[in-house]
């Protein structure tokens, strides 16, 4: 501490730096609020959701700015963290502008996801440069919790400002920017919706589940460590074993939870999109080694392991498809057999147990994945049961074969597959049907030996599919009367 030469309050490092920080935070939070307002007012978004997030960020930043003078100096760094978080979250809205998204499918995709995740859920769909799919959020609940922690800001004032938004759950779902138009890959959004359902289930079910299992796991770990004693002196061996078991228990729990969550998400994807989810996972995973131990890939299950579970979920459907395609209808077989055959080939891929060997090679992953297998069926059934009743039935390709064949026929003729039936008895195609038809068409032309596969070929397919997603959406939502009613 240094005494002030003027005889005023003593100079301290903390108070000196706090004053600097407070001055800087005024500029920073006001900038965040202004940027959020600008974005909300001026950007072209496909749906209201990015604007709602902007409003939420703007309101929160404005309130922080208003109460900055009352902020205790020792809390300024917390405010700084929050401010950084808010400004970083603006990128979700900023990147969801129409020009950066597959805009034709954003409205129908958000409606599709909301209908599955819950009526209060909203989605920002935005690209990222990394080649992967992900979900971030939930934002409203996170901000609410953060504001409650800033006790000098009246939470009620924040709630009044954001109004009905408090009732929403807002998520940001991302897709690879360089694959923007590849709506066939965007089937992976089914997996991302799965994260919401899986996390709800895990939140209430995982703690008791883990409590029930952890004694047994701790015992197994202790035995393992004792059987493989570390090279330490005997006086610290017991403590060392205890510490190792404690650390390993934490890692096993994380592997168990994370692995289970990913597999549940895959199950949701298959439930929502049927074989198209498996097709997307097969193609997406081809760029990675299939048998990496979860400890070597951020606790994700090996791809072969995941595909095996996905195949299990739709194997019966594919078998029934195969039987139906053996029938007399030649056009059905011509158009859909390549898709089904290609998916059935996944069987050959998952025959190998290299993934299981990779998992078993490490005691922690072995214990975690043994646990997953014991709880898997119940967990999956619980999560799928949590879907709203009108989408509780899984998507079954075998029940949609005639429709999919008709839609593939349209793609054969370079017509968007946005409706089924003969005019004037047409109905808008289902979101899931369009994507399954897209996959079926792609597999038909890609495996036929035809000269298909150049960028232009893909681009034309994506154009037709995106147009059909848009047209079926407009058909469903803006069609004043069905043809039957019009005729009456």
């Amino acid at each position: 501490m240094t005494h002030s030469p003027s005889g005023g309050p003593a100079w301290t490092e903390d108070s000196w730096r706090s004053k600097i920080l407070q001055r800087e935070l005024v500029i920073q939070v006001e900038s965040v609020a202004r940027l959020a307002d600008d974005l909300q007012d001026n950007a072209d978004f496909a749906t209201d959701t990015p604007s709602i997030l902007c409003k939420l960020i703007g309101c929160t930043a404005s309130l922080i700015a208003k109460y900055l003078p009352q902020t205790p100096p020792h809390k300024l760094r917390d405010v700084n963290e929050l401010c950084n978080t808010l400004s970083a979250h603006l990128r979700y809205a900023e990147r969801s502008v129409i020009g950066l998204t597959p805009w034709s499918m954003i409205q129908p995709a958000e409606i599709f996801m909301t209908a599955r995740a819950g009526a209060n859920c909203r989605f920002i769909i935005r690209p990222k440069w990394g080649f992967n799919y992900a979900i971030f959020g939930e934002f409203v609940g996170n901000y609410h919790a953060m504001i409650k922690n800033l006790e000098w800001i009246p939470t009620k004032e924040w709630l009044d400002e954001i109004d009905d938004t408090i009732n929403l759950e807002i998520y940001a779902v991302s897709f690879p920017r360089i694959g923007r138009l590849n709506c066939l890959y965007h089937v992976n959004w089914g997996h991302e919706v799965g994260h919401i359902l899986a996390r709800r289930w895990l939140k209430s079910n995982f703690p008791p589940l883990w409590r029930e299992k952890q004694t047994k796991i701790a015992k197994a770990l202790t035995e393992h460590v004792k059987a493989n004693p570390p090279p330490v002196t005997s006086d610290i061996l017991d403590d060392f074993i205890k510490q190792t078991v404690f650390d390993s228990l934490k890692t096993t729990m994380s592997l168990f939870r994370h692995g289970l969550e990913e597999l549940l998400c895959d199950a949701v994807a298959v439930h929502l999109f049927g074989p198209a989810a498996l097709a997307a996972a097969c193609e997406f995973s081809a760029r990675y080694y299939p048998d990496i131990n979860p400890l070597g890939q951020s606790e994700y299950p090996p791809w072969r392991y995941r595909l095996r579970h996905m195949l299990d979920a739709c194997e019966n459907d594919l078998e029934r498809c195969e039987e139906a395609l053996d029938g007399d209808k030649k056009s059905l077989a011509d158009r859909l057999t390549p898709y089904v055959t290609w998916l059935r080939d996944t069987n050959r891929f998952v025959e190998s147990d290299d993934d299981q060997q990779a998992v078993d090679r490490h005691i922690l992953t072995k214990l975690a994945y043994d646990l997953i297998e014991t709880v898997w069926a119940d967990a999956r059934d619980d999560v799928l049961r949590s879907l709203p009743e009108d989408v509780s039935a899984p998507y079954q390709l075998c029940d949609r074969l005639d429709t999919i064949e008709e839609l593939v026929g349209k793609l054969d003729a370079n017509i968007p597959p946005n409706e089924v039936g003969s005019w004037p008895e047409t109905q808008p195609s289902l979101f899931e049907d369009i994507l399954n038809a897209g996959w079926a068409f792609k597999m038909k032309v890609a495996t036929s030996g035809e000269d298909w596969g150049k960028s232009d070929d893909h681009a034309r397919l994506y154009r037709l599919l995106l147009k059909s997603l848009e047209a079926s959406f407009v058909h469903e939502h803006f069609n004043a009367k069905s043809p039957e009613k019009q005729r009456q």
Binding site: Q107, N418, T426, P428, S472, V474, F478, K481, Q486
Partner: protein, 211 residues
């Protein structure tokens, strides 16, 4: 060349062998006595007038030129696009058209919009075998800005027999294949640019200078 009347249009929409595709038709009222009303799509191409002082359609590759000259604008169904007087923008029909090989179409404006100053097409022929949405050259020749709502009926397609039927209509390397939104000009793909814009340069094949 005869114009298709309502019953014939409906017949061709139902035809399994040589179908006329207009998809989707949201309202049966769209089919008039001698035409089918078409709706405005939600993509627009606006010109970046501030970027260049002049524009020759022949002097640069189309893709780059398109990016420099125009900008895509999307207005969602339920929103609107304001077309100011004297401005040309490219729009498209909402409906995807699949023309059979024995029909030809003419796209025209609807009189109720024309009376407000909206012109929708100048290159109005739709060739047999064409598949795609139709690009509309939208301009407001009135004096007040027009609010255009994607989804409203702004155009009509008049259909004619194109006989004898062509075996390979609209196939091969066409300039506009399966478009799902308005297409920027691809005039640079025409031979004319090379032949006429550089005609006096003796080093360029084309119309030789008179010697």
């Amino acid at each position: 060349m005869s114009t298709l009347t309502k019953s014939k249009i409906e017949e061709r929409l139902k035809d399994k062998e040589r179908p006329l595709v207009i998809s989707p038709i949201l309202d049966l009222k769209q089919i008039g006595d001698v035409s089918v009303d078409l709706r405005l799509g939600n993509q627009f191409i606006v010109f970046r007038m501030h970027r260049f002082g002049e524009f020759s359609p022949y002097d640069q590759p189309g893709s780059k030129l398109g990016g420099l000259q125009e900008r895509q604008v999307i207005r969602y169904y339920g929103e609107h696009f304001v077309l100011h007087p004297g401005v040309l923008v490219l729009g498209s029909t909402f409906e995807y058209i699949g023309m059979p090989n024995d029909l030809e179409g003419q796209i025209e404006g609807r009189s109720s919009w024309a009376r407000l100053g909206l012109q929708i097409a100048t290159a109005s022929s739709v060739e047999p075998g064409f598949g795609g949405v139709l690009t509309l050259e939208l301009s407001n020749v009135g004096t007040i800005p027009l609010k255009l709502h994607p989804g409203v009926r702004v155009a009509q397609l008049v259909l004619h027999d194109a006989l004898p039927q062509m075996a390979k209509a609209y196939k091969g390397k066409r300039k506009y294949l399966c478009p799902v939104g308005p297409q920027f000009s691809r005039a640079h793909l025409d031979d004319d640019g090379k032949r006429f814009s550089l005609a006096l340069d003796p080093s360029v094949d084309g119309i030789a200078a008179d010697d």
